[in-house]
């Protein structure tokens, strides 16, 4: 396949996942776009070396994850406390049920960003539908440890939502 068209197809297919991974590490909209471009450029550079040992989705997720944590480290914001990021709420807010869904989604992103990095990484990859084995491969840890971290991530997310609902 033509490398250019392979890259374009890959961007089309996975751009939503890349955008979500970037947004789960960077709340600032402009910086998130910058990070997304870094990820896309890194994928373009690495694509010729992809030998098919893992699926393209895992390959993309791994590069996005690496670039994201590198970006966070660069900006010295390892794990931070987050409030709800209003930029995630569409300025042209749709009415009623859809507006509630948009707000809920923004809350979910904000809650995920509040997770310490240890729990955020497997949680984001699970939310992107990677299997525990794939997550273990990406993070270089055992599937058992993935399960433990996911369980703690879920408990933390529950507590975040619980605290918010009580507030």
């Amino acid at each position: 396949m033509n490398p250019k068209s392979e890259f374009d197809d890959l961007v089309r297919e996975h751009q939503s996942m890349i955008a979500r991974i970037c947004a789960s590490y960077e709340s600032d909209r402009e910086l998130s776009r910058e990070l997304m471009q870094e990820v896309l450029f890194a994928i373009w550079r690495a694509l010729p070396a992809h030998r098919g040992e893992s699926s393209l989705k895992t390959f993309v997720a791994r590069i996005a994850q690496f670039r994201a944590i590198s970006h966070v480290a660069k900006h010295s914001r390892l794990p931070v406390e987050e409030t709800i990021d209003d930029s995630l709420l569409d300025a042209r807010a749709p009415p009623d049920a859809e507006a509630i869904a948009v707000e809920e989604r923004a809350r979910l992103f904000a809650a995920v960003r509040r997770l310490p990095l240890t729990y955020r990484e497997p949680a984001v990859l699970l939310l992107e539908d990677l299997t525990p084995a794939e997550i273990a491969g990406v993070l270089g840890i055992t599937p058992d440890l993935v399960a433990v971290r996911l369980s703690r991530a879920r408990a933390l997310l529950r507590s975040f939502f619980g605290a918010r609902n009580e507030g």
Binding site: R20, S32, I69
Partner: protein
């Protein structure tokens, strides 16, 4: 456990229901990436052209009997070619198996980058000695010497910038490596 997996299922549905950005973003980023990709290719071609020019200068130096200068320039060309090949291998980082593997590799490359910077300082110092040795004293009107010094100053400034960037990368990846090693269990 079942409760937990159903929790994740509902979160997945919510998570993937949409992206925080508008749908056109991917197309816009892809378009702006085109410029970056072409800039990268242009840089690649300019590096190749520089090597060809450097090769021609070396041949010319040997042809007119300036074997000492030709030898020095050959050594410089060898260092530059090694750096060029090394830099082009960077793309393999993305294909490494896991995130910790990528961090280790990036850290290794940052350390190699530092060694290359030290090598560059050495080459620049040696070329400075060569330029001083070949200068026609007093220096009044020795344009060739001034051009060489200007070129060396530019090279040194570039090496210093690269040195600072590499140091910053090294610190960043060392902190990430510590973070990952500290939570492997």
């Amino acid at each position: 456990m079942k409760d937990e997996s159903s929790d994740w299922s509902s979160l997945k549905a919510e998570w993937r229901a949409g992206t925080p950005e508008d749908a056109a973003l991917g197309a816009r980023l892809r378009a702006s990436l085109t410029w970056r990709i072409w800039a990268s290719r242009t840089w690649f071609v300019s590096e190749l052209v520089s090597f060809v020019l450097l090769g021609l200068i070396i041949v010319q130096k040997f042809a007119v009997g300036e074997t000492f200068v030709g030898g020095w320039l050959s050594a410089l060309a060898a260092v530059c070619v090694a750096g060029f090949v090394w830099a082009r291998r960077a793309r393999h980082i993305g294909a490494t198996g896991s995130v910790p593997g990528m961090i280790d590799l990036s850290l290794g490359r940052a350390r190699q980058g530092l060694r290359i910077v030290y090598g560059s300082y050495l080459v620049i110092a040696m070329l400075l000695v060569l330029a001083l040795r070949e200068a026609e004293w007093p220096l009044d009107g020795d344009d060739r010497f001034l051009a060489r010094i200007a070129w060396l100053a530019m090279s040194a400034a570039t090496a210093i910038v690269y040195h600072l960037v590499t140091l910053s990368r090294l610190q960043r990846f060392e902190s990430l490596q510590r973070l990952y090693r500290g939570r492997q269990s």
